[in-house]
């Protein structure tokens, strides 16, 4: 079986587990939603909320990413499934890719919900001309986030204190995604007078980030979990 095929099977397995357990729909999505509401409490001004809405969408995404990554590796380590897969000779790169693909699928769904929430709660509007930029940004940013999350999730999996270690490792690493994706979405939504063409250089940054961590992560994942 090729690595891609194994990765695809692992991704489908993860998504099936999530569909049946309903943890993502019953806990992670409500968590992300409540984050959007408490941002409004903290900022307490419609004008400020409109201005910072793209950043808040991505902040809520990053917090949810941490929860999703914990969840993604909790289902592996509970039964020693990660070790079992390695003993069975499954390529570590395939495990990395599979888990990253499943994580990316969950993240995209979550980001769409959060964008929708921003339209409703923070008074954003999406013009037809900016949809291409918006979709490209979502895809590029999500790939980077999923790669970093899977890499550090695998590193912290199975250790005491992983709940606190994961944010410490992940948040500095995904800072470029927060910066790039926020600016690109600002351009797409026209926040503070930004125009769509301002967004494309940031998509470049997000793409480089996703490729770097996709390649680096798939190489590093084996040595990290192989213990």
């Amino acid at each position: 079986m090729s690595a891609w095929r194994v990765a695809w099977l692992i991704a489908r397995k993860d998504l099936r587990v999530e569909r049946r357990s309903r943890v993502v729909t019953n806990q992670v999505v409500p968590f992300a939603g409540v984050t959007m509401v408490i941002f409004a409490f903290a900022l307490d001004s419609d004008a400020v909320l409109q201005r910072v809405a793209p950043g808040l969408v991505w902040l809520a995404t990053m917090f949810s990413l941490l929860v999703l990554v914990q969840r993604s590796f909790a289902i592996e380590t509970d039964d020693g499934a990660l070790d079992a897969m390695r003993v069975a000779g499954v390529d570590a790169r395939a495990i990395f890719l599979g888990k990253a693909i499943a994580l990316a699928a969950e993240l995209v769904a979550l980001e769409l919900i959060l964008l929708f929430a921003a339209v409703i709660l923070y008074g954003q509007s999406i013009a037809a001309g900016s949809v291409v930029l918006l979709v490209t940004t979502l895809v590029a940013a999500t790939c980077g986030l999923a790669a970093v999350g899977t890499l550090y999730g695998g590193l912290a999996a199975g250790f005491r204190g992983r709940e606190t270690l994961l944010p410490l490792l992940t948040l500095p690493a995904v800072a470029p995604v927060l910066i790039g994706a926020t600016r690109a979405v600002e351009a797409a939504l026209g926040t503070a007078g930004a125009v769509v063409s301002d967004g494309w250089p940031w998509v470049g940054l997000l793409t480089v980030f996703a490729v770097a961590f996709g390649v680096g992560g798939s190489l590093a994942f084996g040595p990290l979990i192989d213990e």
């Binding site: 912290a156 204190g161 410490l168 500095p172 690493a173 800072a175 470029p176 910066i179 680096g216 213990e227």
Partner: protein
């Protein structure tokens, strides 16, 4: 897990094959301090250089036209960040040497860890004295400018690296995990720096290491800065030597504790 220290290169070989003897071997010779004549020479040199730095930084060098007395902070600020960069480069190189040499010597792992610890301390010093300098010169402690922000993220990244080193497991597991992470940081830092630079830039351009090659600085100020670099380099070398040896001894203590526990358990079973 128990076999980890067999190929250790600390120079302290232990024979623990016979469980009955293990309880006695706890008293075998181990170095009682991390000092040697080499560390003493470097340590004295570091003290002398620091005294020079105080004399030149606070006394002989003139006050700046624009920054006035605050310029003296830079004789600490600039050398510590240079040495921190050096320390993180050493961490990356030692990590690569651990992973890609066939012997996989734990000495490289300890060098990487010790260097990262010292680097984190130096970055912390840079950030603190930099904030003080900023308050005096810019009027604020912190500016969200590219270099400051990158430095803060660099600091947090290596604090995370040090946390991973303390995750537990055998020495080999620790070494492999942290070596991979030490190399990932090399991927991470340039990306962070690039993104933050795109985000904003305000920090004054580098004066000594700028690209046009000539140095625009008063002679005595430049000399004071040079003394600072020497002093902090010596301090780094001195701390490295002690810290690497202290880490080797920590590893040894852990191994012995494990061996002693195993021997006690075997003795229980035999009785």
């Amino acid at each position: 897990m128990n076999g980890d220290h067999d190929d250790d290169d600390t120079g302290n070989t232990m024979t623990t094959t016979d469980p009955a003897q293990t309880a006695d071997t706890v008293s075998i010779t181990a170095p009682r301090s991390t000092g040697t004549s080499a560390t003493r020479v470097v340590g004295v040199a570091a003290i002398v250089a620091m005294a020079w730095l105080v004399a030149f930084g606070l006394g002989f060098s003139p006050a700046d036209r624009d920054q006035e007395e605050a310029v003296r902070i830079l004789y600490v600020h600039v050398p510590t960040i240079w040495l921190a960069y050096l320390a993180f480069v050493v961490t990356a190189i030692a990590s690569a040497l651990y992973l890609f040499t066939s012997k996989q010597s734990l000495g490289w792992d300890r060098a990487a860890g010790a260097s990262a610890e010292i680097g984190v301390v130096f970055v912390a010093v840079t950030l603190v004295v930099g904030a003080l300098w900023g308050r005096l010169t810019w009027g604020v402690f912190w500016q969200w400018d590219a270099r400051l922000t990158t430095t803060a993220l660099l600091f947090v990244t290596y604090v995370g690296y040090l946390a991973v080193r303390r995750l537990g497991g055998s020495h080999r597991q620790r070494a492999r995990r942290s070596a991979v992470l030490g190399l990932i940081a090399v991927l991470e830092i340039p990306l962070v720096h690039w993104s933050v630079r795109l985000w904003r830039s305000l920090h004054q351009e580098a004066t000594v290491l700028d690209t046009d090659g000539d140095i625009d600085m008063d002679g005595l100020m430049l000399f004071s800065l040079f003394v600072g670099v020497i002093a902090f380099t010596l301090l780094y070398a001195w701390l490295m030597m002690h810290r690497v040896r202290a880490m080797a001894m920590e590893d040894l203590v852990e191994d012995r504790g494990l061996d002693a526990a195993l021997a006690a358990r075997r003795a229980e079973g035999g009785a």
